[in-house]
Structures are given as structure tokens and as C-alpha cells.
Amino acid sequence: MLEIKNLHVKLEEEDKVILKGVDLTVEAGKVHAIMGPNGSGKSTLSYVLAGRDGYEVTDGSASLLGADILDMEPEERAAEGLFLAFQYPVEIPGVGNMTFLRTAVNAQRKARGEAELTAGEFLKVVREKAKSLKIDAEMLKRPVNVGFSGGEKKRNEILQMAMLEPKMCILDETDSGLDVDAMKLVSDGVNALRDEGRAFLVITHYQRLLDHIKPDVVHIMADGRIVKTGGPELAMEVEQNGYADILAEVA
């Protein structure tokens, strides 16, 4: 599904190298988790994959379902099936959540040569999916993320994901700011999307989330590289001992 090879990334504006050779392959149907100390480059990796400006790829490659994505515009990557749930979802005043979602869904369908959803069809689907995430009609009408609590914003990210039905879902600290119930809600939302044809890359600091969204593979990222890869037990180890042992071991 997602294949990252020897990815080197620096900031466009300064001579700061952030990713120093990331190798990572996520197979269809699997859930991979990335953990790692603050500042190790996890968010940067997700941004570079989604196509954010300001980064320069100096070496390596990344492909989604065999297609090289690094030269694509962010909206093209989205249409190819990439989705990033933001660590800090953005507020867009004056633009209704529904309008935004419908524009996104239909633009992607159009880009893929599929028929656009009519207002009625869209409404039916969005209501149903919103309900399971406990997002009410009022929240759907409000401007995108404006006045949403931290937890509501994260639920809204999952709603977008559910509506867009991406192939490769990257979740950047979707658990941060969630209370216990919201964590369950969000995890259920993610689990409902687990599918043979879909893969997840879950960035998190805590084992908690991985209790709900059970990963197949866990990676540890440090200083711009994947330094260790293992099964779910690796996340337990981090939870109990922190990163010191792992980092010492690979140093």
C-alpha cells in the first residue's frame, strides 16, 4: 500500500535535515503504529507524505499503491486515497462543515472519474456516519471546526475520513485531547473502517490508543529514522520503560 524508501527531508527555508532515511512499508489491511520521542520527525513524515509546502525531499521515494506521490499536489494525493488526520485540525470560519465535506467528497469522486453525490445522497450518508461518532446536526452545520472542543475536532477528523473512504489513513496523535469516552468513540470509528483494502499508520505517544486500535506492527522513530520495528509488545515496552533502553540499544 504505502512504500517509503530511504526518505531524506530537509526544511526548504533552512539547512535543517529532519528525516534522515526513513524506510517503511505498510501493507494493505494492516495497522502500523509509529511512536517516538518529541521532535523525532513523526509529524514531518506525515506532512511530507500529504504534500505540505516547506519541505524538500533530498533523497528517497514514497509511493502509494505503486504510484509515486512525492511529485503530486496534496489534492491529487487525496484523490489517490491518502488521508491525514491532523494533530491540530484547522478552523475555517464562514464555511459550513457540510459544505466543506461535500466539496471534498465530490471533488475526489470527480478526480477519480466517479459520479458526484447529489445533495440528498450526501446528506443521508453523512448523517448516518456522524451519528455513530456522536456528531449532531448542529455540529454539522457549524463552520469547520470553529468553536469545537479538542475532542470534537478529532471526531470531526474521523468523520471526514469516514466520508472520504481513503485507502491509506495516517492519524497524527488523534488520541491527544480525547477523554476516555471520546477515545473509545474515535477508535470504534477507526476500527469500523478497517478493511482488507485499507491501511492505517497511527502516530501516537501512548499505549492507551493501541489498546483500542490494535496494531499489527509498531515502529519506533528517533532522530529522523525508524530505529526499531516490532509487534504490539514494543508499544508496551515503551509505555513501561520509555525510550532510553531502545535508543541505547540501537545507538
Binding site: 505540505r52 509546502d53 489534492e75 487525496a78 491532523f86 484547522v90 475555517i92 471534498a104 471533488a107
Partner: protein
Amino acid sequence: MVSVKAKKLAPTDGMLSRHPAAPAASGWADAARASARDRLAAVGAPQRRDEYWSFTNPARLVSDQPMAAKPLAAQDTPVFGETDALVLTFVDGVFDPAQSDDLAGEGLEIQTLSDALGTDIHWAKDLFGVLEEKGQTPVPRELAMLNTATATQGFVVRATQPVTRPVRFDYIQTSDTSDAVIRSLVKVDAGATLTLLESGTVAARCNTVMEVDIADGGELHHVRVQGRAHDRQVFTAMFARLGRESVYKSFTLAMNGVLSRNEQVVEFTGDDATAHVAGTCVGQGDFHHDDTVFVTHDAVNCESRQVFKKVLKSGATGVFQGKILVKKGAQKTDGYQISQGLLLDDEVNFLAKPELEIYADDVICSHGSTSGGLDATGLFYLLSRGVPREAATNMLVIAFMDEAVQEIADEKLADEMRTHIAGWLDRHSAG
């Protein structure tokens, strides 16, 4: 001592000849007009070198001929179409009773300006040319003097109780050389409320002035959409006097416009009152849009807000001159002012002159002015959802303008503005 600065007066004959003296009305109205004429002769026509016109060239507003401006066809979805209103229609700046509702409404007294100036309405007498003249210090507003001296069109509107059905001025332009002067007087009685809507391009050139008097506890909500005809030349001035615990909210939306100067002159005379003046505009090419605001706090515990957001593209110019004057004794004043330019490329100009002048010690006043491009994080967020770049840009433009739209108290009217803005952006980026 009076300090006299040598200034070569610009002749006012052109301005005046264009708009012949109004026919005789009551003695008091004639006197007010004559005074305005004399005052105008004494200050001369506005010129580019005047400090108050340094960002906006007034030449096209004072020339004896307006520049021709092509009228646009009516819009499929009329602005404010969702809101039931008492509609008064002007064609090329002239009231057209045939396309208007009766001059009557629950809690309303409405007369044409010429009828009102021919009779002895005491409140109109206390307002006509009075706020305009007061608003001439410290800076002259010559075009408002011209308006007092020559206007024969407009309405005199009084709300005597909370009025639920808004009054709407619809402007239709049919002639590409029309040159309109409109003057309205609005009085909101103690405890009364009124919503006043305006929409459409008035004429090829217009000079529209309103004097507004809001008594204790009264509220005036003013929402205005200034049409779409690009070559129009617009001067407007709102003079508002606010009584105790009164509310004045005025919002203006402009799309296109080769020359617009919108002035707001607001004075707090009673304590605990609120005034919010807001505006947002979007334009490109030779678009030039100027908001000039002067708020005087002369009472205790009043709140004023100025929120102006300008979206500028390929050559467009946005101007904001805003002042908050807090007089001695106007304690507990809360004054806020923000002006922002969204620069969609490098060829645009956003010129802002924010000013604070404070003579009281227990006040909170803040002002800010910024200009910059589209929010990069917001853009990435939208693109990453698959929203095409053009639609994403439009959404961020809407988000930028929304801070001004949010100043409209009535949610339904605010939503109508949002729909109108979104529709315009859609058509324009498509075309």
C-alpha cells in the same frame, strides 16, 4: 488661536453645477442647504494633497461629469431575498413609487426627503445637516457638505417602537451616466429598534449620506451590499449619534468597484452604548476601496468596534483610515479596531492608517492592522482533503471575510451575506 494653513482652494463650481440647487423647501431646510453651500465654498473641493485623501484620489468624485459605468443585469438571486422587508426602490438614484411598497409600516413613520423638508418635523430639523456639520471637525468632509446642499432624493425614517420588518433600499442602475445624490435621515426613538438594508449599485456615481440619531436604548442595524457594477464611483457617509444604552451596528459588503469611499462618523453622547462598524470587500484590477471611520467617545462605558477586512487581487487597492477619539471624561471606554488585508498576490496595495487619540485615563483601546497572504496551514488542510486549489482559496477568502460578517447581529442576515459572498466567488473564479 486659529491656525490658518495656506491652501489653494479647489473650486467647487463643478461639483455644485452638476447638482443644481434644490427647490425651495421650508425656511429651516433652505437655511441648512445654504449653510452647507457656504461651508463647502469655504473649504473647497477635496484634493489628492489633502491629508484625508492621501490614499484615495477624489478627482472622480468631484469632477463635473461622472465616469461612465455600465449597469449590470439584475441578479438571479436577489440580495436579502430571504428577508421580508418594506422595499423602497430607487432607479438611478430617483425614488420609484411604482416599484416600492407603501410608505407605512408598524411602528414606522416614513416620508420622502422632499416632503419632510417642506414641513416642520422638529426631529428632522434637529438632524438635517446637523450631524454632518458636527462631523466636519477635525477633518472636512466636503462631499457630505455637497450632499446637504444638493440632495433632493432620500427618505426620512423614524422608528417609534421595535420594528420587526426591515426597511430596505433597493438601488437599480439603468443609465451609465447617472449621478445620484441621496440623503436620508433616520431616527430611532427610545427603546425602538430598526433594521435598515441597502442593496445594489446606486448609479454610475453616487453620493449617499445618512444621518442617524439613536435615542436611549434604541437600536439600529444597518446592513449594506454595494452592488457589483465595477466602474461605479461611490461616496457614502454615515453620521451616527448614539444615546444612552443604544446600539448602532453597520456592516458593508462590496464586490468590485473602481472607486469607493465609505465614511462612518460615530459619536457616543450617552453612556453605556455600543457601536460596531464593519465592512469587507473583495476586488481585483483597478479596484479601489476606502473605509474611513471616525469614532468619538464622549460618554462613559461605551464600546466601539471597527472590523474591516479587504481581499485584494492583481492590482487592487484597499484603504483603511480609522480613528478612535476618547474625550476627557469618557472613562471605561472599550475601543477596538482591526483592519486586515488579504493579499492574493504581490501586485496589490493595502494602506492602513489606524489612529488612537485618548484623553481619559481609565480606558481600554486596542488597534491592529495586518496584511498577508492566504493562511498556509488552512490551505494545506483543505487541499489534503481533496478540495481543489481554487475552491480551497475561496473557502479561505470566505473565512477571512467572515470576521467582519460575524459583526452582523442577525444570524439570518449574516448567512445571507455568506451565501452571497460564496456565490460571487464561485462565479468569479469560474469565469
